[in-house]
């Protein structure tokens, strides 16, 4: 029964987030939707996902969307309606697709489970260097995926950098918020380190840790630190690239040992995975924090183009 209630709440929230007239309300409802989804992941025995969803899906996506609301003031209200014919055809299309997916789902669930990849994954767990199966899949069996994922993250943030310059920072916060920041940011950094370390044998890992670090950056920026705690100049570029760089170096390095690309020697795999994950954490955190800043940092601009810096904007 709790599952039915959760599912109904999820659908209700999604509906009201997507079809509310007020954009701001939609975004806030979407954040609530993300938090509820984190509970659903926990119900489905996916604690890794629950952590990631709470940090990324609800936290950072919410922060990005709330900041983006500032751009939307002009277009508010005049959401031009589609003509009735088009609305009807969209509804029909949606219904048809629902039927199709439902049928595919039904046949997938009704069919006899054949040989499962899961079994192979559990059998090889001993030799993977970590004991959390999800981390083993991400960084050992399917390390290619994770490498390319880091490439996707870097590409996206390069796109953000190319498109525009960063948003103006916020006013320095009042004493109460500053006091909170003084406690919250070290705590978040500590949590990120813990998540990174614990990922080898329990839920956690590079993505959750990176997202937590990025959350610390968001808090810093809200408190008036324009750089969001990121280093300046070349150090920032290195931070963005170190995840992929180290991953590739390790991947190529192990080939000298006689293995294939990214085939770690068994004795070292635990250490190598931790090394790669640490670098990936830094890169993911830097990328997400830079995405929150919204573009090229001011100190990368030629001096003549530098923005008005810390101006009032709330």
């Amino acid at each position: 029964l709790p599952d039915l209630i959760l599912a109904a709440l999820l659908l209700g929230l999604a509906w009201s987030a997507l079809f509310s007239q007020d954009l701001k309300r939609g975004v806030v409802l979407f954040i609530a939707f993300g938090l509820l989804l984190a509970i659903v992941w926990a119900r489905l025995h996916a604690p890794d996902l629950a952590l990631a969803e709470a940090a990324i899906g609800a936290g950072l996506a919410g922060a990005l969307l709330l900041v983006a609301l500032r751009d939307e003031t002009a277009a508010q209200g005049e959401s031009a309606r589609r003509s009735p014919v088009r609305r009807l055809s969209i509804d029909l299309l949606a219904l048809g697709m629902t039927g199709l997916i439902g049928w595919a789902l039904w046949s997938a669930m009704a069919s006899q489970p054949g040989e499962r990849l899961a079994q192979a994954a559990y059998e090889a767990l001993e030799s993977s260097g970590v004991s959390n199966p999800v981390t083993a899949v991400l960084l050992n069996y399917r390390a290619y995926d994770t490498l390319l994922e880091l490439v996707v993250v870097l590409t996206a943030v390069l796109g953000v950098l190319v498109i525009g310059r960063e948003r103006r920072g916020y006013r320095p916060a009042g004493p109460v918020f500053c006091g909170l920041v003084r406690w919250l940011v070290p705590l978040l950094i500590l949590t990120a380190g813990y998540l990174l370390w614990v990922g080898a044998h329990a839920p956690g890992g590079a993505f959750q840790a990176g997202a937590t670090l990025a959350a610390a950056a968001v808090v810093l920026r809200l408190a008036g630190h324009q750089s969001a705690g990121l280093p300046r100049g070349y150090a920032l570029r290195w931070a963005l690239a170190v995840g992929i760089g180290l991953f590739l170096l390790v991947g190529i390095g192990v080939t000298f040992n006689g293995g294939g690309f990214l085939q770690y020697p068994q004795a070292w795999s635990g250490g190598l995975i931790l090394l790669i994950e640490s670098a990936a954490t830094v890169s993911i955190a830097a990328a997400l924090a830079l995405a929150y800043r919204g573009g090229r940092p001011d100190d990368w601009m030629p001096p003549a183009d530098r923005g008005p810096g810390r101006e009032v904007s709330t």
Binding site: A52, E72, I90, I101, M109, E149, G159
Partner: protein
């Protein structure tokens, strides 16, 4: 099985809700929300297929795929928001 079925059906419904909203809206930001919701629906289908009962252990492979998907989704959202902001700036110029 029933628990997995409930969530899988919810996933299908969320996906369709997202697709419908994405086609209905004409401003970019709600469309982005809709895309994210339909992505969440897909993730939900995946994870509920990985779940098999209280007693048995879950399948880690869909979990890893969905974790990758979450990070890719937020990157794509960030890029889309940056593009949207640039478009708005160009409208004002």
């Amino acid at each position: 099985m029933t628990q997995a079925l409930i969530y899988a059906l919810t996933g299908v419904a969320l996906f369709m809700l997202g697709v419908r909203a994405c086609l209905m809206h004409q401003i970019l930001l709600p469309r982005l929300l809709a895309l994210n919701v339909s992505g969440a629906g897909v993730f939900l289908i995946f994870v509920s297929l990985a779940y098999r009962g209280e007693s048995q252990s879950t399948d880690p492979i869909p979990h890893a795929l969905v974790l990758t998907g979450l990070v890719v989704a937020i990157s794509a959202t960030a890029l889309a928001l940056a593009l949207n902001r640039r478009l708005r700036e160009m409208e004002h110029e």
